[in-house]
């Protein structure tokens, strides 16, 4: 696995085109993943996460241009999410329980994934991927939240039906102050 600094540099240059079949395969994986989340099949979604998953959403700050490189919080600093498989398993246990009031009644989410760019990963069978997302959430009578951002994933090819597992997901959200009462769903 690449360290986070090296991963962040991969897409500073336009990646070389990958084989159309691979592009198609990875996009289809994302559509399937989004469908699982939108249909609240959280156990099935969790099965797409690798045992060494790192699910990370740094905090984004408002900075003057001179200090723009410090815009995102980094490893070891505060974050919106910074979870391993154990913590994610706990989140799944929460969201699938009938006492998880922030998601019972459940949110209605729609994950839109686009702008998928693929580069080879550090080892055979791993891929570094940049994609754009919009997550629309509507819940209860009229609560509406819309989130946009970039997901930077490491995917690893597996023998499973889904074809890949998610090893790294770093979510760069296009908000500084989160304009919602909570983040009780998954990106």
């Amino acid at each position: 696995m690449l360290d986070s600094v090296k991963r962040s540099e991969i897409f500073l240059k336009k990646p070389s085109p990958v084989a159309p079949a691979l592009q198609h395969e990875i996009e289809q994986f994302y559509y399937w993943e989004a469908k699982l989340l939108n249909e609240r099949r959280f156990e099935d979604w969790f099965a797409l996460l690798a045992a060494d998953i790192h699910y990370f959403m740094p905090i984004r700050t408002t900075r003057i241009m001179r200090e723009a490189k410090l815009e995102y919080s980094t490893a070891g600093e505060y974050a919106h999410f910074d979870d391993d498989a154990h913590a994610m398993k706990g989140r799944i246990r929460k969201i699938t329980s009938d006492v998880s009031w922030s998601e019972n009644p459940a949110s209605r989410t729609r994950h839109i994934v686009s702008n998928v760019m693929i580069a080879d990963g550090a080892v055979e069978g791993e891929y570094e991927i940049s994609s754009a997302f919009i997550v629309y959430r509507n819940r209860l009578e009229r609560q509406l939240d819309i989130f946009a951002g970039e997901r930077r994933d490491t995917l690893r090819r597996t023998n499973s039906e889904a074809g890949f597992e998610i090893v790294n997901r770093t979510i760069f959200i296009d908000q500084s102050t989160i304009l919602a009462n909570n983040l009780s769903f998954f990106f």
Binding site: Y78, G90, E103
Partner: protein, 452 residues
């Protein structure tokens, strides 16, 4: 012929002091829901609560070097918090005196000066106006000393930075009073003090600020009953179910006799703390050298190692959870919205892996995405929405839990203290103090309500 009233209908209410005091009845434990919704009360809160209380602005470690600054808010008023060359901290209103533009438009950074981007008026890091473009030609009579942004009083308590606009306010030490005893459970476990994990998480909850502040002040009830069952579930070891756990019952609740502060905690039962912080932090807090040192500094093994899952609010909007170590301000944004600004502190001399575990566990549990805090926002948002209803606002809320159980002669714990942790004594103290502040025209009048 029927009588027709031709007098104009008055839609905006001017609240009298006696009407404000009647909104909170601590004798029987009643709260008038209009305290959460009324626009006129809210405007008065900005003046009387946020205009003259000591408000949390951050931690000293967030601005270590001269010129380091963070921007923050006092109520709805934006401020700049800057480390000065002499090591002191300056706080000034983030508003240019010329035409009212925001002077500093960054969350944090390091600056030698602040220049307004509208017409270029420039201020030094203490907030003094030092340069005005075309001053000689166009402002021949300008006395720059008179045109600096408003400056606040600043003081700190064991790392936490507080500011106050009111020159007549009590000093911070007196304002905190015996609440300091309880704050020390988080801030004074070691002579090294605390430091903040870098980064402030901000999010918006469409609810009145008092729901959040009161809950951290007084409400162990929601944690011991239904609110956080799924948060606990998220932290339970595999194979253990909710039915296997009984909520802790042994603990204390403290209410400031005067001042609106409050806290509550379990004693000796680690179940809730374990579910929130996991075994590593629970062990750090309850056994070994760090826990022993805390016991020594705090003067008892119980305070050093047995106080668990503590919640606390310093009136009005500084809230934190000792042992979990999330610290936050609830910035009001109108009567119907609050902005949460949260960070985490750790013992400055803790090992790196302990500091990182505090960071990981607090963002897993108490944050916008936290498995505990997610469900708090849910309650407050629904309550606030329901209070749009006229009928919903027309009858009082019940705040009579454990009334009359608190005493002021506990051998260990100062202030008004109850042995029943499921209690609304601290909430009654919080709202009673709110009504005092709101009905007092100035600090002299407010001070007159203090007991000798």
């Amino acid at each position: 012929m029927s009588h027709v009233d031709t007098s104009p209908i008055k839609l905006r209410k001017q609240w009298s002091a006696s009407e404000i005091l009647a909104l909170v009845n601590e004798e029987v434990g009643r709260l008038d829901p209009r305290i959460y919704t009324d626009e006129d009360l809210y405007q008065l809160e900005l003046e009387r609560v946020f205009g003259r209380s000591w408000l949390l602005l951050g931690h000293e470690s967030q601005i270590r070097n001269p010129g380091d600054y963070i921007t923050n808010y006092m109520g709805e008023d934006p401020v700049v918090v800057v480390r000065q060359k002499d090591g002191s901290i300056g706080v000034f209103l983030n508003q240019c005196r010329h035409r009212g533009m925001r002077i500093c438009r960054s969350d944090k950074g390091n600056a030698k000066a602040f220049t307004c981007s509208y017409h270029g008026w420039a201020y030094d890091i203490a907030g003094n106006l030092v340069n005005v473009p075309f001053e000689a030609e166009s402002f021949p009579c300008l006395d720059k000393k008179e045109w600096s942004p408003l400056k606040a009083r600043v003081d700190t308590y064991k790392g936490l930075i507080f500011a106050n606009w009111d020159a007549d306010a009590l000093d911070l030490n007196t304002y905190l009073g015996e609440a300091k005893f309880y704050m020390d459970h988080m801030l004074d476990r070691t002579e090294a003090g605390t430091e903040a994990i870098p980064g402030v998480q901000k999010w918006v909850i469409p609810c009145n600020w008092k729901f959040a502040a009161e809950q951290f002040c007084s409400d162990m009830y929601h944690a011991g009953t239904t609110s956080h069952l799924s948060g606990i579930l998220a932290g339970l070891p595999e194979g253990l179910e909710l039915a296997d756990l009984a909520p802790p019952t042994v603990g204390r609740q403290y209410r400031a006799p005067w001042g609106g502060h409050g806290t509550g905690f379990y004693v000796g039962d680690p179940n809730l703390l374990l579910a929130i912080m996991g075994p590593k932090i629970t062990s750090y807090l309850t056994e070994g050298p760090a826990a022993e040192k805390a016991s020594e500094r705090l003067g008892s093994v119980e305070r050093g190692t047995q106080v668990m899952a503590e919640h606390m609010t310093i009136f009005p909007t500084c809230s934190f959870l000792p042992g979990i170590n999330t610290v936050r301000s609830w910035h009001p944004r109108g009567p119907n919205e609050v902005e949460v600004w949260a960070f985490t502190v750790v013992d400055a001399d803790a090992a790196d892996d302990i500091k990182d575990e505090f960071r990981r566990q607090t963002l897993r549990t108490f944050s916008a995405g936290g498995v505990f805090e997610q469900d708090d926002g849910e309650n407050w948002v629904e309550i606030q929405h329901i209070l749009r209803g006229y009928k919903a606002r027309s009858r009082p809320f019940n705040a009579e839990m454990s009334i009359g159980q608190a005493v002021e002669n506990d051998p260990v714990y100062p202030g008004r203290v109850s042995r029943n942790v499921y209690n609304e004594e601290a909430a009654r103290g919080f709202y009673t103090h709110w009504a005092r502040v709101m009905s007092s025209p100035d600090w002299a009048a407010l001070n007159a309500t203090r007991r000798a």
